[in-house]
């Protein structure tokens, strides 16, 4: 119910409504494609076709940013609702993650468009795509619990999260491929849980790029650790969250 209201709020505000969830990442991909592929020419990062390479990673990235940034405000927005509703407070976190997920699913046609434009069909490994979606969903839920409950106690966290998210854009293989990083640094880069997930998104098109099993394991276990930390923190701070409501 809450998810529906969120989406409605989102889509009725602007005239183009739903189209914006297509246009926003599309525009972003186009700009980045222009800069990194057309303007920078031969010093190209990533793998070709670059437009597709970019959009496959940009969409999940968009989802990640939206969800994490929204997490900082969850309980501040839900104040009035938490005061009288006996539903478990996790629901508000789940709602935020779910509504951003729906937006992400809605924006998937951008990838289809990129496939059509570049005529590059994915291989059998595309089967990992849904797995990546599921993993990212769990990751976002864990981070959501962590960030939302902490930001009740530390309101300044919202600003910090913004900066961290911005930094992660450049630290994650979105503009570039994990293979652009020197071999020695690859396993350090893999501490970022997004590395593994983005690798799984891309594996359908570029199996040769695929992150080594080791770095995949590292990055997924960091993700799992975040998930557990999120649940733990949330339960520690639960009564405080309710008090602030």
């Amino acid at each position: 119910m809450l998810v529906l209201r969120d989406l409605q709020n989102q889509y009725t505000k602007f005239r183009l409504g739903y189209l914006w969830s297509l246009l926003e990442p599309l525009g972003m991909s186009l700009v980045l494609w222009l800069v990194f592929s057309v303007l920078l020419g031969d010093r190209a990062l990533g793998l070709s076709p670059y437009l597709l390479f970019l959009s496959v990673a940009i969409l999940p990235w968009w989802w990640f940013t939206k969800s994490v940034n929204a997490s900082t405000k969850i309980f501040r927005r839900a104040r009035g609702e938490l005061a009288f509703s006996a539903l478990p407070p996790q629901i508000w976190v789940m709602r935020t993650v779910l509504s951003t997920s729906v937006e992400f699913i809605f924006s998937l046609p951008v990838i289809v468009l990129a496939i059509v434009l570049t005529r590059d069909l994915p291989g059998i490994y595309i089967l990992f795509f849904p797995v990546a979606i599921l993993l990212q969903f769990l990751l976002l839920y864990g981070i959501g619990l962590l960030v939302s409950s902490l930001s009740v106690v530390i309101p300044d966290l919202a600003r910090v999260v913004k900066i961290v998210v911005r930094a992660m854009f450049y630290l994650s293989p979105i503009l570039y491929s994990i293979t652009n990083i020197p071999q020695s640094l690859q396993s350090i880069a893999a501490i970022n849980p997004l590395v593994g997930i983005l690798g799984l998104y891309r594996i359908g098109w570029w199996p040769e790029e695929h992150t080594t099993v080791v770095s995949l394991v590292i990055s997924l276990s960091v993700g799992a650790a975040l998930f557990i930390a999120g649940i733990y923190t949330f339960h520690r701070l639960k009564s405080r969250i309710l008090k602030e409501a």
Binding site: R5, N9, E81, F84, S85, A86
Partner: protein
Amino acid sequence: MGVIEFSHVSLTMPRTKRRQGSGRKHRLRRFAGETSRTMVPVLQDVSFTVNKGESVAIVSAKPLMRTSLIRLAAATLIPDSGSVTRTERVVPMIAIGRAMGPTFTIRQNTYLVGALLGMSPEELTEKLPSIIEFAELGSHLDRHLRGAPPGARQRLAWSIAMAVDADVYAIDQTLVVGGLEFRQKCWSAVDTLRENGATFLVSSDGAKQYRRFCDRGLYFDQGVLIADTTVPQALALAREARREPLGE
């Protein structure tokens, strides 16, 4: 065995202290750990039992205390120590209108708030006509709450809460708003429910109208349960406490 049992409940709530100093001074103080956010004790070792079919008035001068007590009873707040047990579902009737969105229609808001109170969509569909009728909003059902007549929000809040299938209602005084006519309708609805054996927990700062329908009064001062008596007596205590500081 009571419907709601408080045993040795203590609670502190965060409250913003008045800002001290301005600008940099204030910020420095916050930085030094003298935060403007402090925990104030709200309840101290409170124990009481509400029995089935009773109507209990919570008489206290502090609105924060009254609201917290209602939220504790309805399990939307966890006590710091002690425990609150309940055998039935408790409907907290506090500031429900805050959860409504002005850009949603009355119908949507009904479903939203109803769901938050734990009703299923099917249940709500079934009860929608009676809710709307009680709130006197029949002709505005598909209009935005923003454009609905004044008081619609409060009327709707009350009507939805009343529609929940529960035997225990915890009412905050501040929810009783709207025109005189509607208020009377609310109280007569409460009377009907009472006759059917529902239990009520009413928060009040000592208003007279509770005298006629509560049969027990709990008087609190500084978060401590002072007296568990009849309503007139609790109200008398509250009056006395109000008078005392003036007499100094």
